[in-house]
Amino acid sequence: MSLNLDPNITDPDGFYDELLDAHQDLSKADSDALNARLILILANHIGDRETLRDALRVAKAP
């Protein structure tokens, strides 16, 4: 599997903070839309279909 499931984010707490910050004060609909945009942006950055498929698989069966 080419998907990296080892810890890879520097300053994990900082990142988590920023993620929640982005959703601060958003309605459920706006939060859903933000998540969808974020997924599409990250998916495009990864690009590799095999990695994306792995990610979907892991997300569906954590």
Binding site: D32, A33, A36, R37, I39, L40, I41
Partner: protein
């Protein structure tokens, strides 16, 4: 007598009593049921090859209404092989630019501008009745030159019965019923195919729960000749999506996606259609309503397009959503694929297993079209809350970010099918370009005079580039023409080299009568070519 179901735009085959109606049943090599675009194209192709063909239709010509309006380059190339391509382009509206909007905002625009060096444009818009008329006109020309084609209007097939080696048809006419015998029956009788129903064959697939309102309006407005598509259009009551596209004769196609629970009769009332069109075009635009219709669609196909002596082509065999212009365009490719095979089988030059490959190859094409058209429909009509969230996220991102634009799907426009991995494919022994690989349709290219496809005609062709091919005029009675090209002398733009040689310096291509590549080599002897031709005609499966 069967009552007409629709009005006629062009009377192409008026009813005329024929002697066969009052004699013992006559037997025909091929009877085609349905004189629409696919039936007429199949008849013209067969007739030009000298195979007698009889077309029966329950009306007398092309029905009213624009219906299929987008004709793709490959369709025009096939029509051109049949002699009708130029008339279509002369009448049609050539377009390249498409704009996609989400509400008031333009999301992006695309340009279909094909690469240079093709005789035909990527797409033209042309009302379906014109397409049928130009094929029928060419049938009249072919008839005057002796092509054995006969068209019988107001001849309704009411019953069919398959025997061991033929089909018996009961046909109703204004002068009463008669019987016809057919060695082969081609059912081009549309999505509701009466022949398919008479045979009790299934037509399975997916139903999309949505209604689309078509309004063809006539106006002399200054809108550009572009395909404009709106997701969540900003005009009052315009539904979930809308489309504006120009056709010839100052007619504009407008589509509104209305949803599932609607009152069709109410929505089709002129004043209700006009309210929507006014909201879209602006109150001050003057127009006439030419034609209105509400359609729903399904993506489905028959399991097999051949049932012994009966072959299904066009909508009778497969149906897709209209987004992507994959209905009529794929049907014309069916005709292109079927005619030469049926011709060889009838002439006794190929085994009837060749007709099974018609089903194999075109079912492959239908699957590709159904896949593309289902995906477009899922984007247009999101099936869940979350699929709508993602759809709108794509549209939002596409406004400012290039990466999201390929995800926007308002229909993936029809491209010709490549018969990858099919049983008729011969060897691919050339390190040539992928686009002209075995199974692909030939790509056009300008020559010193005219275009490459003009020179291929409708027989097997040996295309020899920068090499002397073995002399081979026929294999087992199947004629082969040879076309020699020197890229030094005959390839002014270098397109032949780019499209057929790539990084190699010489090639021999064996091309089928439908201009798909049967085999290719750097160099080949007569025996290798003969074997490939036998493979391509199902003599060595």
């Amino acid at each position: 007598m069967t009552e007409p179901r629709y009005d006629i735009a062009f009377k192409l085959y008026p009813y005329k009593q024929v002697a066969a109606q009052s004699t013992a049943p006559q037997r025909h090599p091929v009877v085609i049921v349905g004189g629409g675009p696919i039936g007429l194209a199949t008849a013209l192709d067969l007739g030009r090859k000298g195979t007698p063909v009889l077309v029966l239709d329950d009306h007398e010509g092309a029905g009213q209404g624009s219906r299929a309006i987008c004709f793709a380059k490959r369709t025009l190339e096939i029509a051109d092989r049949l002699g009708a391509g130029q008339a279509m382009v002369d009448k049609g509206v050539v377009w390249n630019v498409g704009k996609v909007f989400h509400g008031d905002d333009k999301v992006f625009e695309f340009n279909l501008q094909p690469e240079e060096g093709h005789k035909f444009p990527a797409f033209i818009n042309l009302q379906q009745p014109y397409f049928e008329k130009y094929i029928a006109d060419e049938i009249r020309v072919a008839q005057s030159q002796g092509a054995p084609i006969e068209l019988r209007g107001k001849n309704t097939v009411t019953k069919m019965c398959q025997k061991d080696d033929h089909v018996v048809l009961d046909v109703d006419t204004p002068d009463g019923p008669y019987k016809i015998l057919a060695d082969w029956l081609v059912a081009c009788d549309g999505a509701r195919s009466p022949i398919r129903k008479m045979m009790g064959l299934s037509f399975d697939g997916r139903v999309f729960e949505d209604n689309f309102l078509i309004a063809d309006v006539k106006m002399t407005a200054a809108f550009p000749t572009e395909r404009w598509f709106w997701f969540e259009p900003p005009f009052k009551n315009s539904g979930a999506s809308a489309l504006l596209h120009k056709q010839p004769d100052d007619i504009w196609r407008i589509d509104f996606q209305l949803g599932w629970d609607i009152d069709r009769a109410h929505e089709l009332q002129d004043e209700n259609v006009r309210a929507r069109v006014d909201a879209m075009l602006g109150e001050d635009i003057d127009y006439e309503l030419e034609w209105t219709s509400i359609y729903t669609f399904q993506c489905r196909r028959m399991k097999d397009f051949r049932h012994d002596r009966v072959l299904f082509a066009g909508d009778s065999a497969h149906q897709v959503s209209p987004f992507g212009a994959r209905g009529a365009n794929s049907g014309v490719q069916d005709a292109d694929n079927l005619a030469w095979k049926l011709d060889l089988v009838i002439k006794g030059l190929a085994p009837d297993a060749l007709l099974d490959t018609y089903s194999r190859e075109r079912a492959h094409g239908a699957d590709e079209n159904i896949l593309n058209s289902s995906r477009a429909t899922d984007f247009l009509t999101p099936k869940s809350d979350m699929s709508k969230v993602f759809r709108n996220a794509v549209l939002t991102l596409a406004k400012s970010h290039e990466f999201a634009r390929p995800l926007v799907n308002s229909g993936r426009l029809s491209v010709p099918c490549v018969y990858d991995g099919m049983p008729l494919n011969g060897p691919d022994e050339l390190a040539g370009p992928a686009r002209t690989r075995v199974g692909a349709p030939c790509v056009d290219a300008p020559m010193a005079e005219g275009f490459l496809l003009d020179k291929l005609g409708g027989s097997f062709t040996l295309l020899a580039i920068n090499t002397q091919p073995p002399s081979l005029e026929e294999v087992g009675g199947i004629a082969i023409q040879t076309l020699r090209i020197s890229t030094k002398e005959d390839d002014p733009t270098g397109a032949v080299k780019d499209r057929y040689l790539g990084y190699t310096t010489q090639a021999i291509y064996l091309l089928r009568p439908d201009q798909h590549v049967a085999a290719r080599w750097t160099t080949a002897n007569a025996q290798q070519i003969a074997t490939a031709l036998r493979i391509a005609t199902a003599q060595e499966l």
